[in-house]
């Protein structure tokens, strides 16, 4: 890929990733975040996290299926870090706007409420991934170990979706789309691996 194309694509991805934040900032500045701004901020940052995480997880299976798109790997770190960025904003929203920095309220929430526990677990799973996202960390850990560690992204996404289901009212089905997409991505790995093995066996 030409350098100029890459720069252009990276710029576009940055803009797309910053879009939800820009909307929130603009909305807050113009007092235009709807009737319940706190809920709007929470929902926007949470959904952005799940979407970005899901897109970053889709890159590997897409590359396997369509080798001509293998350059997509250059965007995975960016997407993953933005997912972590929104997850952190989501966490800060809860700390500032729901508990008003009250340690007791936070502890009670994490201990008593499984959806908050699960959200916390998801964020904690993303934390080491963000921390080891530099080239230096990859070299230090070695490719194999780094890869194994970063499989946690799948677990974090599952925790994130469970967190979403546990948050909505029973009977409400809004998390169903992201759940289906994630389920397909989780299934794609073993299915593609199996297909690969068959091909290798057939060739031998």
């Amino acid at each position: 890929m030409k350098r100029s194309t890459l720069v252009l694509l990276k710029t576009l991805v940055w803009l797309a990733c910053l879009w939800p934040l820009a909307r929130l900032v603009w909305g807050a500045a113009t007092n235009n975040l709807g009737p319940d701004p706190t809920a709007e901020i929470t929902f926007t940052t949470g959904l952005a996290t799940l979407r970005l995480l899901t897109i970053s997880l889709a890159i590997t299976p897409v590359r396997r299926l369509l080798p001509q798109l293998s350059w997509l790997i250059r965007f995975r770190r960016l997407l993953g870090l933005f997912a972590f960025f929104y997850a952190t904003l989501h966490l800060l929203t809860w700390i500032a706007l729901y508990t008003a920095f009250d340690i007791n309220a936070m502890t009670a929430d994490v201990v008593k409420r499984r959806f908050i526990t699960m959200g916390m677990v998801a964020w904690l799973l993303l934390l080491p991934l963000a921390a080891t996202s530099t080239n230096w960390a990859i070299r230090k850990l070695g490719g194999k170990r780094w890869n194994r560690l970063h499989k946690l992204a799948y677990l974090a996404a599952v925790c994130g979706v469970v967190h979403y289901w546990w948050q909505v009212k029973p009977g409400v089905l809004t998390p169903v789309t992201i759940t289906i997409v994630l389920a397909i991505l989780l299934l794609a790995r073993p299915v593609l691996a199996l297909a690969q093995r068959r091909k290798v066996t057939a060739a031998a």
Partner: protein, 327 residues
């Protein structure tokens, strides 16, 4: 070629709401008046009815009201816009903005309310009869949703007890159940959730007879918009919002606690009583605080009051009860 945004509508060109409504009303009166005078020989009333089917009951129509000592004072009202565009009315969609978009098809006229069960004689009341049964009062109430948000709404109605007296319940009636309108063709969004319809809610008889419990026909001095539960709903200000059933078509008097929608869906989350109680958490969030609708994000959070601040009037209803058990 002209490229660019078309000029926006200048503020000076926007008709104020009052004037707009007046013009509508003038047209309605003028049309039905003309039809009535010009077409006496052709069954004028029918024509007037066709031309202006719901004159007098359209959302936005002013209601004659009187002051009430039961109104809540000292609170900033939530704006008309927020009260009428941020709704939980799952028959018209599960998102808060959906009822305002989708409830237009709710046929609020003609409308009747069936009274059944343990009553001297089953009856059916027409909405017009209900509107005239008692003077309509302006009552500002705090409205606390189980989802931990709250509003302050100026409702219009009269105490449900006035209506219940007209129903002549038998002495063994201990509970009253409210059933909401349900038609899956009108409310096709009702399949977005796995709820069993029609929506059902209920109160113990002494709760229903408490003067705070409001049979509600309007808000902000006007007929209820459809998304707020037109043409008639219940408002129980010391309970979580879902207890205040919308668009009532039947009232049943029973000797046993009725099945109610959210209690059936998730009994551990939504008790039959569901009194606003900061000391009993919802399993999924704390009920100690709430977010006031319509304020900037940094100013929304406030402390939730026991019985939503109506303890003086209602605490005695629960004297002998463990409210942690009967949440």
């Amino acid at each position: 070629m002209l490229i660019g945004k078309p000029p926006g509508i200048p503020a000076s060109a926007i008709t104020p709401r009052e004037q707009y409504m007046n013009r509508r009303r003038f047209l309605r009166t003028a049309i039905s008046g003309a039809a009535a005078t010009g077409a006496v020989a052709f069954g004028a009333e029918r024509i007037a009815e066709v031309l202006s089917p719901s004159a007098g009951v359209l959302a936005g129509t002013k209601l004659q009201t009187v002051k009430s000592p039961l109104t809540t004072t000292g609170e900033q009202l939530t704006s008309y816009k927020d009260v009428t565009t941020y709704n939980n009315f799952y028959e018209f969609g599960v998102q808060k903005y959906q009822p305002a978009m989708n409830a237009g098809g709710l046929p609020t006229r003609p409308w009747t309310v069936r009274v059944e069960g343990l009553v001297k004689k089953p009856k059916t009341f027409d909405i017009d009869t209900l509107l005239k049964m008692h003077a309509l009062e302006d009552r500002v109430y705090r409205h606390r949703c189980v989802e931990a948000w709250s509003m302050v709404v100026p409702w219009v109605g009269y105490s449900l007890s006035e209506f219940i007296r007209q129903c002549e319940p038998l002495s063994n009636a201990r509970y009253v159940q409210f059933l909401s309108y349900y038609d899956k063709h009108v409310e096709k969004w009702s399949s977005e959730s796995t709820i069993f319809w029609p929506y059902s809610e209920g109160l113990r008889m002494d709760e229903a007879m408490n003067p705070l419990t409001l049979l509600t026909f309007g808000l902000y001095g006007e007929v209820l918009p459809n998304q707020n539960g037109a043409p008639v709903r219940i408002v129980v200000p010391w309970k979580y919002g879902f207890k205040s059933a919308k668009s009532i078509v039947a009232v049943r008097f029973l000797d046993k606690q009725p099945h109610t929608t959210w209690n059936d869906m998730a009994p551990n989350e939504y008790g039959f009583y569901s009194n606003v109680n900061p000391n009993v958490d919802h399993p999924r969030w704390s009920q100690k605080t709430e977010r006031r609708i319509g304020l900037p994000f940094y100013a929304q959070l406030r402390t939730t009051l026991m019985f939503n601040g109506y303890g003086d009037q209602v605490a005695s209803l629960y004297n002998s009860m463990d409210l942690k058990k009967y949440y």
